[in-house]
Symmetry: C2
Subunit: 456 residues, 2 copies
């Protein structure tokens, strides 16, 4: 932080009235999700038993580039939006880079992450359609906390399946969800058929987003008046998150710049889509030269080393078959602290965009992310979530390249959340007790077997 510190905040009336639906403008539309039983392309009504109906329509909408944000949702956005766009002078100085680094600070929402941007509309549509109970999965707990609070806002009961390893690593996220009044169960659990099957095969299964999704879907489909909600991966979640990039676009204009590079961490794609898609529309429509970089853990490398195939979104195979980059739906991610990035697949929009060269991906080892996160904390004061530290690490790589070449590039990254609930991980890092994980091609091939079989 130097004496040129500036942050950009939009006046309330500038908070977006529409979400941006990139599906409508992609040169190659995503391939259709497929019903696993009929093998037919999915229609919105196929999803009605699982999700609120309006969300199903948004999911498969490939025609309308702009979807109006309901007034009730927009009023609640105002409670914490716009989030600040910050020029990271402190980080620039610490790196000695000529690059101009900006970050969109989504960590200032009451939940500490961007997840509320989609939790609010999902709870809203559920309530509007007469739902009384919602259920979901959560990894690190950012999504679960957001959904728990959004449910409370609309008077819905919430049940959250939290990935077991995160439940144990980050007990306070559970406490947060409970403070909001949600029921929290570590997954895999004995409370669903899917969980029982997984535990029967492996009693020590540490859980993954894939197992938690299976359990939550099962609960939703077997409980009256209950719908499932998802915090990432799906196209309607990406849609809601575009509020991030739409604001950032206006804020970059306030700063008098346009990004050469846009960076976000990547788990299921929600925060990456949110910051990237509104800028990417100018690449699609006007040929603007911007590089979009998704930063994923090198221990969960679906974008950099996964296969583009039809695969299930969950461990048990309850979801439709999604055409996407995947590591196989029974891939078991290493126990990294970035719990929100421990997911095997990438979602259909991102996968198509990656295939078509609109974006690229980098993979980052755990220790590099913590080194980056600590440097950022000391330079900018905000302790980042381990997930967000992947974006910071990728940003630092780009900024150091600028230092070599002398280029004054404008880099924008999304600070998706703060790490105040992840201090145990920082403790381990400071004590030298964290490690990197590597995966061999053989391991990846093995975890792809079931997915490969689906594509025969």
């Amino acid at each position: 932080m130097s004496n040129k510190v500036k942050r950009f905040i939009l006046p309330e009336e500038e908070i977006p009235h529409y979400w941006y639906n990139i599906q409508a403008e992609m040169p190659n539309k995503p391939l259709p999700p497929i019903h696993p039983a009929t093998k037919q392309p999915l229609k919105p009504e196929d999803l009605f038993p699982i999700f609120a109906e309006e969300l199903c329509r948004q999911e498969l909408n490939q025609t309308d580039p702009w979807i109006e944000i309901p007034e009730e949702v927009r009023e609640m956005y105002k409670y914490y939006r716009s989030t600040p766009l910050v020029r990271a002078y402190g980080l620039e100085q610490a790196l000695g880079t000529p690059a101009h680094i900006y970050f969109k600070n989504e960590s200032v929402s009451p939940m500490g992450s961007h997840k509320l941007n989609s939790a609010i509309p999902q709870a809203y549509y559920c309530k509007k359609e007469g739902v009384t109970n919602v259920t979901t999965e959560t990894g690190a707990g950012q999504w679960g906390a957001a959904l728990s609070y959004a449910a409370r806002l609309f008077g819905l009961e919430a049940a959250v399946y939290q990935v077991k390893i995160s439940y144990e690593q980050k007990p306070y996220r559970r406490s947060i969800m409970q403070t909001y009044g949600a029921q929290v169960t570590p997954s895999p659990s004995m409370s669903t058929r899917a969980g029982k099957n997984i535990l029967t095969k492996d009693p020590f299964h540490q859980g993954s987003l894939g197992t938690a999704i299976s359990e939550a879907i099962e609960l939703a489909t077997t409980t009256p008046n209950c719908k499932y909600t998802l915090g990432s991966v799906l196209s309607h979640v990406s849609l809601h998150q575009t509020v991030i990039g739409l604001e950032a676009e206006k804020q970059m204009k306030m700063a008098g710049e346009y990004p050469d590079v846009v960076i976000a961490c990547f788990g299921g794609g929600s925060n990456f889509s949110g910051i990237a898609f509104p800028f990417m529309r100018h690449t699609i429509n006007e040929g603007k030269k911007t590089r979009f970089i998704a930063a994923e853990p090198n221990s969960c490398p679906k974008l950099t080393r996964g296969k583009f195939e039809y695969d299930f979104g969950d461990e048990a195979g309850y979801t439709p078959l999604l055409p996407m980059y995947t590591l196989g739906h029974n891939f078991r991610p290493a126990n990294i602290h970035a719990g929100g990035l421990r997911y095997h697949g990438a979602g259909v929009i991102i996968s198509q965009l990656l295939k078509d060269g609109f974006m690229k991906a980098v993979d980052i080892p755990q220790l590099e992310t913590f080194e980056a996160g600590t440097l950022f904390a000391r330079a900018e004061g905000i302790i980042p979530a381990p997930e967000s530290s992947h974006a910071i690490a990728a940003t630092i790589r780009e900024a150091l390249k600028c230092k070599e070449t002398g280029e004054e590039k404008v880099i924008l990254f999304n600070l998706s959340g703060h790490g105040l609930i992840d201090m145990a991980a920082y403790d381990q890092y400071i004590a030298g007790n964290l490690q990197n994980y590597s995966i061999s091609d053989e391991e990846l091939a093995a975890s792809m077997k079931d997915a490969d079989a689906l594509n025969q």
Copy 2:
């Protein structure tokens, strides 16, 4: 949260250029602090060995009502200020009160509390005067985290003594300070003479802000080029914190209202002074009828049950003698989770204002604070710090009175910090494992003995 949600944020140019020094306008000035050896009123230079010189001058300035905020400090304020003023529609609705409840949300600073408002100028003045090392005490760790970061900003080394019970109850605040690069030692420790003396008398001493202050002062006065900094109690800290109330005053104007009641929690007085003094000047100068309420723990009741006497600010007796409401400098507060409120004294300005009837105090049992905090979290989404929950509990009491009388009073309280590092406390509350503490008059009289002797 309803669909009328509104928050008020100031344009950057409206962030105050001056702090408000209430000492200059009080009808009865605070009595002078006294040098314990000479028994003479303190002069600024008596404090030079301990604090940066400019801070010593601010401490005893009873003439200038407005002190200019240095440009370098103001630039850093811009990084997180103005903090939002929020109309708490959600809480109003949950209580069914006709009162209009507003809160100033200081929890959005990167440190999660108001403490950075004074940490930045303190580190700034130290740096300007050639200091290389700073030291301080911290209870819950909010102040220690802020000072650690502010020190880092100005390239100073920081050493923090953290109250032992908080060090153990809230290990992640220690991790936060360490992430910023500070040295953290639980107090009482064996690293100072003061600490050794305390531990020799009682090897199981749990620490208090009084013990940690003694150790930090000792380190500062025995280390070359090292100054002590304090997070509360002193008049210059209150001065810096007035940026809160000065912003709130403008923001209340944006909302078209003026508070009938202003409420903050009370430990050493920093956040209370910050929100209250700018409004109190209209009471002093124009006779505005506003009630000011300090909310303290009923287990540490210096304002409601303490004595107005000269007393030390620390356990070992290293500070000047301060004329203030006190429970005795060796009072041992119960192990409540609101670590930032576990302090025996009230500071000289507040004590005079309380004596003169400009404000009143209420004392609140621990369980009521957690009940209030949980209600607030569910209504407004923000999990409050246990300290701030005292202000919320006092606000709820006032709002429920309005419900009885039907009065549409305007209540403003300061949300001094969030409770994301205090989830262990919420866990215990949810599990029914928290308790109240009561203190008998006999216990209070016993803890006053040493202070009484000083006043003979």
